[in-house]
Each structure stands twice: as C-alpha cells, then as structure tokens.
C-alpha cells in the first residue's frame, strides 16, 4: 500500500533532555495506526511534529511525499487543510458553542455555501450524537462530550489524515468503548488515514491495523495487533500485560 506519512531520523531535544532520539517510520494510506508507549516517551511531541506545530532539531517529516519541516507557513497551511486533529483535552474554542466549533474549520476552508455548511455540521454532530447539545458552550459539557465534539470538528472536512492525541484518556469505560467504535466506524465510512497516539493498549489493539511501540524517543517495534499480542519481545509483553516489572524501567524506585 502507498505510504502517506514518512518520518526520517527525527530528533528533538528540550534543554538537556532528548525527547525524540531518531524516530523512523512510515504509515500506509488508509490504515489505522496506533503509536503507543508509556507516558513521557515523547508520543505527543512526535504528534506535534507531524502536524508541523514544532520544528525538529534534525530529521524530516513527509506528508504525502512533501517534507513539511522546511516548509513556509503558507504551504504548510495548504497541507494542514487536509488534516484533522483531535487534541488531548479536545481544545474546543470556549468562546464558541458546539455548533460553531464544528463549523469553524468548514467556514475557514471557504468555498462552501450556507446550506452546505449547515448540512456538514449537522451530519458530523449527528454522527457523534451531539446534535441535541449543539447550542451549548464547551464549559457546559462533560469530558466525554467534549471529546466527541472535538472528534466531530476534526472530521468536519473529511480529512485525508486524522490525528488523535489520547482520544480516550480520562474517560469512563463505556464512553471509551463508544469513542473507539466511533473511530472505527468513521474510518470505515470515510476511509482516511487515522493515527492514534495512546497508551490505552486494549482499545487500540482492537481497532488498529498496525501498532508502533515508542520507548525512550524511538520506535522500538511495530507490527499488526496479532503480532503484538503474540510477541515474545519482553518490552511489548510488559506493556501489553501492564506489568510493573520488566525492561521498561518506569523509575519509581528511588
């Protein structure tokens, strides 16, 4: 399958700490890929580089064949119109109501008529089951509802690539399952490329085509969910079973 995202030797450090230490991978078009790892291994930082929110110290990020690292803001914005991002805390605009939040990227894209905007927004809101709350402000919503609105906003323009930063962190098990079902259903319908950054291994293994494991600023292994489940690699085994003992030293002893 054709690749749509390619990351080469990505390095990024803050102060004295190296967060990304030579990340390499590629993601196939139309797949759901999960990037997993314990908290603090640089998953979110990696995601910010993929959207071009941060510039790496060295390395390259190719989105659909073009390197976005050296790109000026004008061309970068043209690429960004093809992306959707669900941020960790949803990052809804708190001055706008739910409806306007979802309408925001559609209005910004221009070239849509009023009726098209209404149609698209209501379609996406219905998809995440938030149509009846469309007049509420983000501050009036629960965490799970905010994530759903964020999801509707990320998918508003039917983007080619959608990034999810911890889509289920901090949610109850029922809402979490609902979010995963929503993600896999929309992927089935929209057939974009989905990249999920998460440490919620069980949910992610169920819906993704490929899983990458990140540890200490590097992609240490990758494979299909079956391979990940069956692997003998002690690092992955520890993560899958959720054990405190193993090669991943979470460093809580001193």
């Amino acid at each position: 399958m054709a690749e749509i995202i390619r990351v080469e030797e990505l390095v990024k450090g803050y102060d004295t700490q190296k967060v990304l230490d030579g990340v390499n991978f590629s993601i196939a078009k139309g797949s759901i890929t999960a990037i997993m790892g314990v908290s603090g291994t640089g998953k979110t930082v990696l995601l910010r580089h993929l959207i071009g929110l941060e510039k790496p110290d060295s390395g390259a990020v190719y989105l659909d064949g073009t390197n976005i690292v050296s790109m000026g803001s004008k061309r970068l914005n043209r690429i960004r119109r093809r992306l959707g991002v669900l941020f960790q805390e949803a990052a809804l605009f708190d001055s706008l109501c739910v409806w306007d939040n979802v309408a925001f990227p559609i209005r910004e894209h221009r070239g849509f008529s009023r009726t098209q905007i209404v149609e698209k927004v209501e379609d996406k809101l219905a998809m995440v089951g938030m149509l009846k709350h469309s007049g509420k402000l983000p501050s009036e919503l629960s965490g799970g509802m905010r994530k759903r609105v964020g999801l509707a906003r990320a998918l508003a323009l039917d983007p080619e690539i959608v990034f999810f930063d911890e889509p289920t962190t901090g949610l109850d098990p029922v809402t979490r399952a609902a979010i995963y079902r929503l993600i896999s259903r929309t992927h089935f319908e929209a057939s974009g490329t989905f990249v999920i950054v998460s440490h919620d291994i069980e949910g992610v293994l169920d819906i993704s085509d490929e899983v990458m494991m990140m540890w200490a600023g590097k992609i240490v292994s990758r494979g299909t969910p079956e391979q990940i489940r069956k692997t003998s690699d002690p690092l992955i085994r520890q993560f899958v079973t959720g054990s405190a003992d193993g090669p991943i030293d979470v460093d809580m002893t001193n």
Partner: protein, 301 residues
C-alpha cells in the same frame, strides 16, 4: 536560609528579574525551592552576577519575541483572509465597551483638576486661567496617559489572560492545525483595534474631562462661563490635540503588543497565566509612562 542571605535575595530581586526569592514554607527545603535559589556553596557576588545575567537575558528575550510578534502581525494583516469579524469584535471590546469607564474617569479627572487648579490660581487672582490650564493638561498629558492606563487595566489584562488560557488549553495549536494563522486570527485584530480605539477614547476622555471641569468651575465654584471657555479657546490650539492623539496611538500599540505577546507566549498553567497578566499590566503601564516622557521631550524639546 540565613537572614543575611534572605536580605541579599530580596535586594537582588529589587534590581533584577532573574533572581527569585524563595521563602521556605517549612524548615525542610523542597527540591523545587532548591532549584529556584542558588546553591549555598556560591558566593553572593557570583550569584548576584548570575541573576543579573539571567535577568538581562530574559529581558532581551521578551523584547525580541514582542518585536517578532509585531513583525508577524504586520505581515499577516495584509494577507488574505481579512479577519473583519475578529476585528469588529475587538473594536467593540476595546472601544465601545470602554466608553463608560473612560467617560467616568475623564469626568472625575477634569473635575479634580479644576478643583486643585483653583486653590493654586485663586491665590494669584488668576482664576481666568483655570479653563486653559485644565484644557492643556487634558489634551497633552492627562487625556492620553490616564486613558491608556485605564485601558491597560481593562483591556490589556483581558488580552493576556485570554490568549494565555488559549495557549495553555491548546486552542492556539488547534487554530494552527486547522490552517488558521493564530497571529492573524488573534493578535493582529487586537493590535489594530487598540491602535484605532485609543485616540477616540482619548477624545472622549478629554471631552468628559472638560464637561466635568466646566461643571465644577461654573456650577460649583461660581466662575464666569465666558471666562472659562474663553481661556480654553485662546490658549488651546490644534497642535496640542494632535500631540495628545499621537501619544495615544503609540500607547495603543505599546500596550496591545505587550499584552498579546505575554499572553501568546504564556506557559505554566493557571499560575503562568496569572504571572503573565501581572507582568503585562505592569510592563505596559511602565512603558506608557516612559514613552510619554520620551515623546513629550521629543515633541517639545
């Protein structure tokens, strides 16, 4: 921490921003306190030097990022799409919603100026000069400076707090990820609205100042209305008004740039936004007064 040391710390803190005074909460020093204060092995002189260096660096860093933001705003203002809606919202917030506050403060400033001026001028029998004195003071100094300080408190703090919260909840990142340039969407409309509103607010301030002054002079002190207005007409010329309005435009640029820069670069959650807002108001107010002196000495020098 010895008393001498604490005294030194406070002294250093007065002179440079890099130094942090840590007042220990208990007799045990936590790691974050240790990180903030210098290591005890250093001499106070070395530590003072380091603090000064740090302070100077953060000072220049702040100026630099403010100027970069200004250049970016100017660049993005002239690029499509034009953010009319955001601009109108800010015009409303900075201008229209400030009118009551500015009118009120202007009125009281004019009233108290007449009252104070009268006690002085009355001694020399120069009551006829009261109108001219107050009009000149309002047009040249009080109008632009006091309205700028009021707007710094009302609008500048809101700019910093809002942008700072947006930064800390990833809303600015979300804008960028949706191909909306945050500087164009958030910063540029605020700066332009401030630059345009300040002279108008200054005029309103001066108008209400004169109305208040007239009321106190004629209604309360019983001075002759013709004498009051005649003095204003004779001594106040268009140059004084232009001088005051030029100042107010510069003040508008200064405070909005400081406020937006502090908010746009705010880090560190609720505390960070709080500190940024404090810094924004303090730095804006100081720069307004400093700029006032510089501009007055240039324009009258």
């Amino acid at each position: 921490m010895s008393q001498r040391r604490l005294f030194g710390l406070v002294l250093c803190r007065l002179f440079c921003r890099g130094a942090k005074v840590v007042i220990p909460m208990t007799n045990v020093q936590s790691p974050c306190e240790a990180r903030q204060s210098a290591s005890p092995s250093q001499s106070l002189t070395v530590w003072f030097g380091q603090c000064c260096l740090q302070g100077a660096m953060s000072f220049f860093e702040e100026i630099g990022r403010g100027l970069i933001l200004l250049v970016a705003s100017v660049y993005w203002v002239f690029r499509p799409p034009i953010r009319i809606r955001q601009f109108m919202e800010q015009l409303d917030f900075v201008g229209a919603q400030s009118i009551v506050l500015i009118g009120l403060t202007g009125g009281f400033t004019g009233m108290v100026s007449v009252l104070q001026g009268y006690t002085g001028l009355h001694r020399y029998g120069a009551e006829s000069m009261i109108g001219a004195t107050v009009a000149l003071a309002l047009a040249r100094e009080l109008g632009p400076v006091i309205s700028a300080l009021m707007i710094v408190g009302r609008v500048g703090s809101a700019f910093t707090a809002e942008l700072g919260s947006m930064r800390n909840t990833q809303q600015i990142d979300a804008l960028a990820s949706m191909a909306v340039e945050p500087v164009q969407y958030l910063v540029a409309p605020r700066i332009i609205a401030s630059i345009l509103c300040m002279p108008v607010l200054t005029i309103i301030f001066c108008f209400f100042g004169m109305v208040g002054g007239y009321w106190v002079a004629v209604g309360y002190l019983g001075l002759d209305a013709g004498m009051f207005l005649g003095g204003v007409r004779y001594y106040l010329d268009a140059g004084d008004v232009a001088h005051g309005l030029t100042k107010s435009v510069v003040f508008g640029l200064i405070f909005s740039l400081v406020a937006c820069s502090e908010g746009y670069h705010a880090r560190g959650g609720a505390r960070g936004v709080g500190l940024a807002t404090t810094r924004s108001v303090v730095v804006s107010a100081v720069l307004v007064l400093l700029g006032d002196y510089v501009m007055t000495s240039v324009m009258f020098g």
